[in-house]
Symmetry: C2
Subunit: 265 residues, 2 copies
């Protein structure tokens, strides 16, 4: 089911700048028992993204209502929100008078959770630096589409990607955490990558628990030497890595504890 | 007017991967007297883009028919073609069984040609390297949208952008040519930029005329020292640069000759 600007729709207006140029943002929100998970965090990221791209953000309460209504429809497992600059402007140039257009889509759950441990590989193609788009969940995701295709071709559950300096940044659709000697760290995303809502929630959770996450450059050796590795996103929650090439891990205590915590959110 | 997969439409299906991820390509084709200009070159670039992205290209004859029919509708100045991977797949993952979806849109002319000399500025934000997306006219154009906004904010007609190594690559919506001592050169696009159809046509035209274009790294000093500078795209053709900061140029003989040539295409 689809709502555009709050109204139920079956089709959309052509030549939305979202389709033409990827001129917008999105959120993929997990729905559990008819309610959106981490809604506040998703809305906060969306508002911050609007600020950075110069989109006039819809009122937060309106978006929250839209998402909750969509989440409450039967069999919904995921609510996707897309905000675009709508139609208008000449070529790339923006018409600043146009209001933002909001799409809200309710879809069934994509997969069952929790998943078995992920089989991952490091993909050979580097992630490009993102400049001022870094961190944003914007609609320009062709790079991720091709990386995901590479991971599927390798027959792994997820592909890890490093930037042009060899720093491991993330998975094709996930953020990455590394546990070593009881300390949890996650790649620095100042040059590339998406600041995942689940990543942010886990960083906040661990800080609150007195075990702050270290955000730092992560090398491939850090992965091989890790006690535990896990992937995160809004839909899978915490997804332990089981294999990376010839390295193998059982689900470790930190991963298991965080999986249990996320299950209560 | 809009046609999707050859059928006249007023609205489009939601959650096309073009909107969700920018998973596709486009062409912006000038229409003169009811006929598309440089149609062969546009179709050739589109086919090459499909090959690189793994989209199953529609038959060339079908696309040509679509574009010619759109171009022949009254008051059409531009035909835009968008090819996307359509709906389907889970998240970023591609469903390879889905056929490509083709949008063809006829719109009025955007501006009158020829334009007066362009007032340009070098924009401060670098163009990011494009990795394996380089050169493609794909739907991930948020970087260009923001750069265009920067140019508009500066009050110039077009903004020039350099990459992170200081090489000038292009304008926000144009390619760039430099004339110095009778030789014509254009920035090398192996790291960033779009391989414009008008750029390619001019390179071929000048090679045929016995004055081959040198494709090379271009520095800011090369611009200041140039005898002539001009911008190109499918819609404006050849657009001489009149001012860059405190540098000024009259339209030179090479630019004028190429403008005259393009007018006959």
């Amino acid at each position: 089911m689809l709502w555009i600007d709050g109204k139920p729709c079956e089709t959309v207006e052509p030549l939305d700048r979202g389709l033409e140029f990827g001129d917008g943002l999105f959120e993929t929100i997990a729905v559990l028992n008819g309610a959106p998970r981490l809604l506040d965090a998703h809305l906060t990221r969306l508002a911050a993204g609007c600020e950075r791209l110069g989109l006039s953000a819809p009122p937060r309460e309106q978006l929250a209502e839209d998402v909750c209504a969509a989440a409450a429809t039967p069999n919904t497992g995921v609510v996707k929100v897309i905000l675009t600059r709508g139609a208008g402007g000449i070529g790339y140039a923006i018409d600043p008078s146009r209001p933002v257009r909001r799409y809200v889509v309710a879809t069934p759950a994509r997969r069952s959770a929790p998943l078995a441990g992920a089989r991952v590989a490091l993909l050979p193609t580097p992630l490009q630096p993102q400049g001022r788009l870094v961190g944003l969940k914007h609609l320009n995701r062709l790079e991720q589409v091709l990386l995901r295709r590479d991971a599927v071709a390798l027959g792994v559950d997820e592909g890890l990607v490093a930037d042009d300096r060899g720093h491991v940044i993330c998975g094709t659709m996930t953020n990455l955490f590394v546990v070593h000697g009881g300390r949890v760290s996650t790649p620095d995303l100042t040059r590339a990558g998406i600041e995942g809502v689940m990543r942010g929630a886990l960083i906040a959770h661990l800080a609150h628990a007195g075990t702050p996450v270290q955000v730092r450059p992560v090398g491939v050796d850090d992965l091989r030497n890790a006690d535990e590795l896990f992937l995160t996103n809004a839909l899978v929650g915490v997804w332990p890595i089981a294999t990376l090439d010839d390295c193998r891990w059982e689900t470790g205590p930190v991963s298991a504890r965080l999986q249990a915590a996320v299950a209560t959110w």
